[in-house]
Symmetry: C2
Subunit: 307 residues, 2 copies
């Protein structure tokens, strides 16, 4: 049993928090109110990314804070739902370490190539264009990039891709609230809004709340919260079970003051359709999950004046 | 449609890969075979962390690559299963952005304090000691640390904690294969082995494979693969449904040449018991999930000569 005398509480870590003037690379970006920050920031925003992304009408970030709640599932299905109704849609898979989008959207094996105007995204069903490290890396490869490499790769994806004219670009963010999320929020000009994905358990809301707060700190509009894996209909007897409880997403929306966008139920067909690269909104358009996604897509389009 | 002429394939990113001699901070650590690396590495290994952690018999890393597959669930239940049989167990929650361990292990609200010999872990049921940023941060706080801050915080947790004499230290790693995973694998002396957690869908195995490969690159023994959320027994009619398919974990184990440790089924009680801070292995010891965890604990203890 450790000695308990001379105790004092720990309020912060003893790591160096001093400013080195490298604003665009700083993890305190959203906490800082120095005027110099704006100068450095604008230098980036009016840079190449602003030009390459000029033809995109609406940029939407999908995040969760927590991993494995279905960010990529929600991203790929929202993108597909919008493409089915005739929108031109691109998806940027910002998960460098564990990219799932190429597999889920049926473009695994297609490779990114460089054309005259930059990196050409790979194209999947319904003309959806996909940009992902999963289209560059071999399955066996392991990325162990720290912050600078991630930032450089982010800038490459933002400023050297030939996005062309698109109605939507979805950016699928990895778990966490640090390096990759902050890079996207710092360097992408004019994010139209964010979709925060969560699952029912209370323990997940602590993390999803951090993601929502990060958007609020960064001044990014949050379209709302999606509760994924919400309830399960037994295919044998039809009884509905809240395998992971229910209502956590709604509670989080109330707590953080953002809209609740809807619930997507668990369904064995969902993960099957991801595994064969066909988003369920296209494979099973009449399933409750697909109807939920279409409703969420409607809400977002209404928000953006697209409907 | 972008111009397709003058295409060439992209094999790597155009980011600087040159060596700056800062081996202990390098993301290419496991790819490098320069003798100088060993010199720098040993300087760390024989440093303070080696002293503070000297009283720990077995250090076990729990990782997945992917988020939300149940790393924290597996960690908290393995720790509890071992503590119930009389082992002294500590848990280090390495997830800075989204720490779940304090909530899951019922120590949320207890704060870390500094004693004579360093940071004193908080103590939960069965004498399990917990170290987590969740015991420092407020719920509303958002961490946006990049690599250096994370490394410094890791070193603080490793070298300034009063671990004392313990049979086991479990390290619960966040999603990804970069900053935090590499920091732990670089700075922790003598990791006894790793448990890789996955879920049934094939799309998850691509990411879990990267985590397994990272262990292999780092020369860390992999105890094996655990398949979580494997099958669901409908409480109404008893029919067993593979909500997320089945067998992905076993396939991954075969592909990567590591043992398969077992399957943990989905059960509404599991997430409920996490939400009230009582690992299910203690709350529902006779459930199939608890029996699966106990079997996994047996395998690990057999591996380590503790049984």
């Amino acid at each position: 049993m450790p000695e308990k005398s001379n105790e004092r509480s720990i309020e912060h870590f003893h790591v160096d928090m001093s400013c080195d003037g490298q604003c665009e690379a700083c993890e305190k970006f959203f906490d800082c109110d120095s005027p110099q920050k704006t100068v450095n920031y604008e230098r980036r925003r009016i840079g190449r990314a602003k030009k390459t992304m000029a033809g995109i009408k609406h940029i939407i970030a999908v995040l969760a804070g927590k991993g494995g709640v279905g960010k990529s599932l929600v991203t790929s299905n929202l993108a597909t739902a919008l493409a089915i109704r005739g929108r031109t849609v691109s998806v940027l898979d910002q998960d460098f370490d564990g990219p799932c989008i190429p597999k889920m959207m049926g473009v695994l094996g297609k490779k990114l190539v460089i054309g005259k105007k930059g990196i050409i995204p790979v194209e999947g069903d319904f003309g959806i264009q996909v940009i992902s490290t999963g289209s560059i890396l071999k399955d066996e490869a392991v990325l162990t990039w720290f912050h600078k490499m991630r930032r450089n790769a982010t800038e490459e994806f933002l400023s050297h891709v030939d996005y062309g004219e698109r109605d939507y670009l979805f950016i699928d963010l990895p778990p966490g609230t640090s390096s990759d999320s902050v890079n996207i929020m710092t360097f992408v000009p004019n994010i139209a809004g964010a979709v925060v994905v969560t699952i029912p358990p209370i323990v997940s809301q602590i993390v999803a709340r951090r993601a929502t707060r990060l958007c609020q700190k960064a001044g990014i509009n949050v379209f709302g919260i999606v509760e994924n894996m919400s309830g399960y209909v037994c295919p044998e007897c039809g009884s509905v079970e809240d395998i992971m409880q229910s209502g956590g997403g709604q509670q989080l929306a109330e707590d953080t003051g953002v809209p609740f966008l809807g619930k997507i139920p668990l369904d064995p067909k969902l993960s099957e359709s991801s595994d064969v690269g066909k988003p369920f909104v296209a494979a099973f358009p009449d399933s409750p999950a697909s109807r939920a996604v279409v409703t969420i897509a409607d809400t977002i389009e209404n928000n953006l004046g697209m409907l």
